[in-house]
């Protein structure tokens, strides 16, 4: 379902990665067939992690060209966030996706942004990825809106009272 990669088409996201401080997966999502197997995906993650490890991407998002793709990345504590797009993509459009991604993760983990907290709330991380990009198409870039959509944990109107509880215990 990859959307056309033509320049005059839409900005397309190739993958979103949330890796830990050792380069292991916390949550990842790929939207193209460019990395067909799990091994290819892992290889991509390993090399992009190694390539960016020594850079300082804490205050501002950083950027690198990698295998004909543009990869934007940002580190928060021990979490490494990556957004990959084609090499003709508007870098700043990709940056807005990364910005939304990192803001949403920060909000969802309530400021305790580290790999343990992310794993503890992995369901929210998956939902977060799902709300940012849909099959390569940018769905939302506003961090607080993304987090808001993920964190609706109430009970729907039609539910019987017995099933209702207000805040989901973590």
């Amino acid at each position: 379902m990859a959307t056309s990669a033509r320049r005059d088409a839409c900005p397309a996201i190739k993958n979103l990665l949330l890796l830990d401080s050792e380069g292991r997966r916390v949550a990842v999502k790929y939207y193209t067939d460019e990395w067909p197997t799990n091994a290819a995906k892992l290889a991509f993650e390993r090399s992009i992690f190694a390539k960016t490890l020594k850079t300082n991407a804490r205050t501002e998002a950083e950027i690198v060209m990698f295998e004909n793709n543009v990869v934007l990345y940002k580190f928060i504590q021990d979490l490494h966030l990556f957004v990959t797009g084609g090499d003709n993509e508007n870098e700043l459009a990709l940056a807005s996706v990364l910005q939304g991604f990192s803001e949403a993760v920060t909000l969802l983990l309530r400021g305790n942004v580290d790999q343990r907290e992310a794993l503890e709330n992995l369901d929210m991380m998956f939902l977060c990825l799902d709300e940012i990009v849909d099959a390569g198409m940018i769905l939302e870039t506003d961090g607080s809106l993304i987090a808001g959509k993920v964190a609706t944990h109430s009970i729907d109107d039609g539910a019987p009272l017995s099933e209702q509880y207000l805040v989901r215990p973590l």
């Binding site: 839409c10 998956f126 849909d134 198409m137 609706t152 099933e163």
Partner: protein
Amino acid sequence: MAQYVKKDDDRDEEAEYSPFSGIEKGAVLQEARVFNDPQLDSRRCSQVITKLLYLLNQGDSFTKTEATEVFFSVTKLFQARDIGLRRMVYLIIKELSPSADEVIIVTSSLMKDMNSKTDVYRANAIRVLCRITDGTLLTQIERYLKQAIVDKNPVVASAALVSGIHLLQTNPEIVKRWSNEIQEAVQSRSALVQFHALALLQQIRQNDRLAVSKLVTSLTKGTVRSPLAQCLLIRYTSQVIRESNNSQTGDRPFYDYLEGCLRHKAEMVIFEAARAITELSGVTSRELTPAITVLQLFLSSSKPVLRFAAVRTLNKVAMTHPMAVTTCNIDMESLISDQNRSIATLAITTLLKTGNESGVDRLMKQITNFMSDIADEFKIVVVDAIRSLCLKFPLKFRTLMGFLSNILREEGGFEYKKAIVDSIVTIIRDIPDAKESGLLHLCEFIEDCEFTYLSTQILHFLGIEGPKTSDPSKFIRYIYNRVPLENPTVRASAVSTLAKFGATVDSLKPRIFILLRRCLYDNDDEVRDRATLYLNTIGGDGSVVETDKEVKEFLFGSFDLPLANLETSLKNYEPSEEPFSIRSVSREVKSQPFAEKKAAAKKPSGLGAPPAGPTSTVDSCEKLLLSIPEFSTFGHLFKSSAPVELTEAETEYAVNVVKHIFDKHIVFQYNCTNTIPEQLLEDVTIVVDASEAEEFEELVTKPLKSLPYDTPGQTFVAFEKPEGVSAVGKFSNVLRFIVKEVDPSTGEAEEEGVEDEYQLEEFEVVSADYMLKVGVSNFRNAWENLGEGFERVDEYGLGPRDSLKEAVSAVINLLGMQPCEGTEVVAANSRSHTCLLSGVYIGNVKVLVRLSFGVDSAKEVAMKLAVRSEDESVSDAIHELVAN
């Protein structure tokens, strides 16, 4: 998963705690049984789904049965009313990508959710349903989707629109019916809805130029607020500009809109507009200036992304408009020390492109400091840029060659070293003055080179270029030094190189013989064999005589047999009285000629390139053609044209033709592809009507036995024509064949076939077909060498033309010659232009052309044509070409 299990062993327990330690697929699948409990525990179910998703995300996969089982139990969870759990259900359904019969089970639940009062349900149910549906369902839910597009909740509207974008690939006719709703959504107050609606609307209309143009016209007046949507609009606008194709008449449409976007408040939009302006075709410097100005501001931004985007775009602009970028040079220079090495490298290479001759030395000093702390991949980019710089400013070769030889001595991997060596080789080839020093740098490098490949390539290159220098003897020491010090491969190369010196430079012969004799005692077979061969052929009896041309051809000529064929023949040869004869080896190239041609057409550069250059494509065609018995007597193939399409794209049969020109013959190679799976074509021939090509006489037709679906095949038609004359004419073609039905399920063809014909387009043989594009590196030298003997000069009026550029390219195409020294590029708005062309005319006659164009205020173009060639009649023929 495994990584989490493993890390428990070797790491601090507490720091590495993970809620998923030791998680196992089997156990989780067991746990998934809670989905079937009559009394659902939402929280527990959520956790189990998270675990399942975790496994999938780590790369675990479920078998078909496992996936089906999970899917069925998950569908039970639609009973639960917990929004969080429902979200997880949606996620896992998407991840499991159920099959069509499974989809039916969740369809009703999802359709219920699509009409729910809860917006989160509506939005997600739409996304899930559109993702998993196979289209049959779509007509049922179409009504809801249309409503959703104009829903007041932006999340729901976006979900429907994005799903529409995906569905457009599979069910375009349905999505196209939503245009009214989508158009309404473009006016939405929500930024993202606007973006999604615009994207979908353009994709629906993308094949309708007029509609896209209307869309752009109405929207550029200013209702789009979302930055992302604005970026899209800029892209569509530049597409419209590209297609509107207006020439120099007045202002470019929509340029004002693009320029206005440069003042937008979102950087994303400013950048998109700036980039769009730089990519306009035939952009003028007045148009470029505002874009360059905003990009220049970005260069000093605190955000790396912005600096990167700007410098990358400027780097591209520098290729076509170096002067426009020079204003940014000071900012660029400060980027050389940028923390982000990608930015630094882009800045350096941009500077190398825009720099002027006087600044080269200073720039090189800065780069020297920079090179030590970047990775090899960046260094390669810099080396390539330096090579281009050196070819641009040949007078600076000393500085640049010095730089290259310095970095050649430093640490580096194979690819990097190869890039440096390739650059030095290119410079040596193109700048005669640089030859001696360049070769000596290479000699020093092989003294201490760890890469066998590079050593052997350099030795080979020395063998070709070394003997042509003023003092070949000084290279001998470097070459012979390899023999006692290196591995057998390099030693064997060194022996060959020595022999080449010996064969070409008579005065060196006695010394070479002594050295070669020493190699006879080498402990490697190949080295000894080569030494023996060379000693015996070049004149091992010690006498110094000029080496025979034949011997040279035998030793150092090119080998024109396919190696694979030789290998098979040698394997099949059984020892007998009769010696193995190389003549028995088939010359037929077995591999797909297409693939090979492609490979050969890819121009090699640097060391790998054969010094003769442009004949490689012809070589492979020639082999192919001569392997066909009917054509084997035609002699040397002069030129093969690029394929000319004879059918429209996407028709039943795709046919193109390649024109092969021989001295007295011409062969048309028709490449046919059958695009109908249900058909098999047999006895495929082309019936050619040459009534409009009087000088040609049809000789032989070689039909294609069978043409199955999607497997390209070739059929040939050969014509005779007067020798050495550039006969021209028009040929019309009909494809004739026997068609047989094929059962698509079994792939078997029916016995009986029907004869059928298919009309193809006609094509022409033109004079340019008789001209080989062969460039010369130094036009002035070549021009003077040819002398005035057969020079013909005349003036022509070309009549009114759209532009000078158009006139120049028309003449280049007419002559089919290679433009030299970049003179095919006409500066915008110039009133006159000189263009230098070179080529080889049929009969192997070298031709050089100097064209001077002038244009007056009425756009009347006049041209002075000066031709020099090795043959008077050819010079005249060129003039005749133009005169007609």
